[in-house]
């Protein structure tokens, strides 16, 4: 019988071979999958948003989520060019991305603009000196979100209802000055809610301060959801279907109404980060988000539903998700979301034009502290 001896060297050698063999599939997999980075609001790189694209192009999208456009700008300023291949931003911050040279120019012919409603062919804020820097992915309106058990659609047709005795201690605020002051500026009758004179700004501050006795609290995203759902607050100005759409999925009897004085539009878009080494792949991703398939996916993201600019995407929503489409204003005929834009009732959210952003922020801190 042959004697078998296992030397230490032999043991190490076979161990290394075994470890190498075991690791091989993941090494091979890691080599074949391309990684692409995305700087975005939460939810944009979750599986429901990107899995189809990832599978199609054998790519893994790694997100870095931010909260607020200013944090996004700060993160970009602190990172070397090329850190982020894709940048997801609200329209009001795209101009700042362009001015700070954080994003690449885009070729409009690369994207499905022909499928879009004409309002989004040359969306203000996404173009600079006649050059395209961002492609709209989806948008939504901000007006009055309310619990239908307590406040009817008819009652919510004017911002004046926020001051009703019935709503005392029942008004909630999403804790961000820009949408709140935007809708209250509309209530003051300002045709361009963010481009207001010194006098109009003083009046807006008075209007806002007069609302404080009605206010129940100031909430973050989670707080907005739980307070509206529990009935803690029954009405919230400056938010929209991005909140009530999520709550309705949970069975809450809530909706968003755009009052007669008008509403605010938020707009999401994708850009290619300056110095990206995967610009081609990033371009393919933006092509995907503007395609009918990508648009349908974006309208139904788990994080929150939103309106899409694609006519083809609308058709699919109306056919496959008529109830969601109706709440989002994606239906045919009068009063749909494009109709509201065309009638001039919707104003794009932007940074204050005649005042410093810090002034608006300071006032909001003072308002909360009153």
């Amino acid at each position: 019988m042959a004697k078998t001896t296992l030397t230490r060297r032999a043991l190490l050698k076979s161990g290394a071979v075994a470890a190498g063999a075991l690791a091989m599939p993941s090494v091979v997999r890691a080599q074949s999958v391309t990684e692409m980075t995305m700087l975005a609001w939460y939810g944009q790189a979750e599986p429901d948003a990107v899995a189809a694209f990832e599978e199609l192009h054998n790519v893994k999208i790694t997100p870095k989520y931010y909260v607020g456009g200013e944090q996004m700008l700060a993160l970009l300023a602190q990172s070397p060019p090329g850190t982020y291949d894709l940048i997801h931003a609200d329209a009001e911050y795209v101009q700042q991305l362009v001015l700070a040279n954080f994003v690449e120019k885009l070729d409009p012919s690369d994207y499905h603009f022909d499928d879009f409603y004409p309002e989004f062919h040359k969306f203000p804020g996404h173009w600079h000196n006649d050059e395209l820097y961002a492609v709209i992915s989806r948008f939504g309106f901000l007006g009055i979100s309310h619990n239908l058990d307590a406040v009817s659609v008819n009652e919510a047709s004017s911002y004046d209802m926020l001051w009703d005795e019935k709503n005392k201690d029942k008004v909630g605020h999403f804790d961000w000055h820009l949408p709140n002051l935007g809708v209250l500026s509309l209530r003051d009758g300002n045709a361009a809610p963010y481009d207001i004179s010194g006098d109009a700004w003083a009046k807006l501050q008075d209007t806002t301060l007069s609302l404080k006795p009605q206010v129940r609290g100031f909430y973050d995203y989670g707080g907005v959801l739980s307070s509206l759902k529990s009935g803690e607050v029954t009405v919230m100005p400056g938010i929209g279907e991005w909140i009530t759409g999520v709550l309705r999925r949970d069975g809450a009897n809530v909706t968003t109404t755009i009052p007669e004085q008008g509403g605010i539009q938020f707009t999401e878009s994708f850009s290619i980060g300056r110095g990206s080494k995967k610009a081609d792949l990033a371009r393919k991703f933006i092509q995907y988000t503007s395609s009918p398939e990508g648009q349908f996916t974006l309208a139904n993201l788990n994080v929150f539903p939103a309106i899409i600019p694609s006519k083809v995407g609308w058709e699919r929503m109306i056919n496959e998700k008529p109830e969601d489409a109706r709440h989002l204003g994606m239906f045919k005929g009068d009063g749909n979301s494009i109709d509201l834009i065309r009638k001039g009732r919707i104003h794009i959210r932007q940074l204050p034009v005649q005042q410093d952003l810090a002034d608006w922020n300071d006032f909001w801190s003072a308002y909360k502290s009153t």
Binding site: G68, D175, K368
Partner: protein, 293 residues
């Protein structure tokens, strides 16, 4: 003889040196820790308060504008005063609630029951404070358990959330267990012969408590209240989730300042004012606690 004496001296000094080195090694972590996690960050924070923010980017500078801006803003002083009043109220309330509990634990319970009680007061620390505050939301909200119980006995109080009461409930939840433990340790280390002596000299239970026990355990009571004040003064979670962000405290002001405009230097000013307040309060409390009467 002379050589022997020299050898002995040398051996003694070697032993002294090695004892010093031994003590030095054991003492080293404290200054290292303080330098790395207190002095260093503090210098950075002070330096940061003079920086500028250009295009949402922190830029090294030396300007007084941040200090000027914050210290002349009425909302800063409103938040400061509110935070101070909330924290001192919470410290007083918690100390009052904790006192009878600590007296019972220290003087009326058996050793076994005492250990069980103190153990139970430590249990809340096993759960995240954030989770405990979220649980309170369920109790205090419009359709919550507390409201339903009150409604059952005919009291319609509406929601308790986002009220000063909710704020106090959150802060008591945060600080009460710690204050009870501090007070109890102080009472348990009290020389019991003092109490016997007071009784032997004819004092009644009330006089024993106010003239003997409370003065003797003053450091424990003051330190307990100080910890309650410190935790309440810097708390963000309760003010946000039970106060509904309606009562802007210094911590909320820091978050707001950073959130909009990335104004880290101004947030540093707020933080430094908080640290200064806590240092002054702590030094004054300690001086009072250990003052000779």
């Amino acid at each position: 003889m002379g050589q022997m004496s020299k050898d002995m001296t040398s051996s003694l000094s070697t032993r002294r040196l090695s004892r010093l080195a031994y003590g030095g090694i054991w003492s080293l972590p404290l200054p290292l820790w303080l330098a790395a996690f207190f002095l260093g960050p503090m210098i950075l924070l002070i330096w940061l308060s003079f920086w500028d923010v250009k295009n949402f980017l922190l830029t090294p500078d030396f300007q007084l504008e941040n200090w000027q801006k914050m210290l002349t803003a009425p909302y800063f002083w409103a938040a400061y005063l509110r935070t101070f009043v909330i924290a001192i109220s919470a410290a007083a309330l918690v100390s009052l609630i904790a006192l009878p509990c600590s007296l019972a634990i220290s003087f009326f319970l058996s050793v076994r029951a005492r250990m069980v009680m103190l153990g139970l007061f430590v249990v809340p620390f096993f759960t995240s404070y954030l989770v405990r505050v979220y649980s309170w939301q369920i109790y205090l909200t419009e359709n919550g358990i507390v409201m339903k119980l009150l409604a059952a006995i005919g009291i319609d109080s509406g929601s308790l959330l986002n009220t000063p009461l909710a704020l106090m409930i959150g802060l008591v939840t945060l600080t009460l267990p710690l204050v009870i433990v501090i007070q109890s340790i102080s009472m348990l280390s009290l020389d019991k012969t003092l109490i016997d002596a007071a009784y032997n000299l004819g004092c009644g239970p009330r006089r024993v408590l106010f003239a003997t026990v409370l003065p003797a355990v003053r450091p424990g009571i003051v330190l307990g209240a100080l910890f309650a004040f410190i935790f309440s003064f810097g708390d963000f979670v309760t003010a946000t989730y039970l106060g509904g962000g309606k009562f802007t405290t210094m911590s909320i002001l820091i978050a707001d300042t950073v959130k909009s405009g990335q104004q880290w230097p101004r947030a540093a000013v707020v933080a430094l004012m908080m640290i200064a307040t806590l240092l002054i309060t702590a030094l004054a409390s300690i001086a009072y606690a250990y003052r000779r009467t």
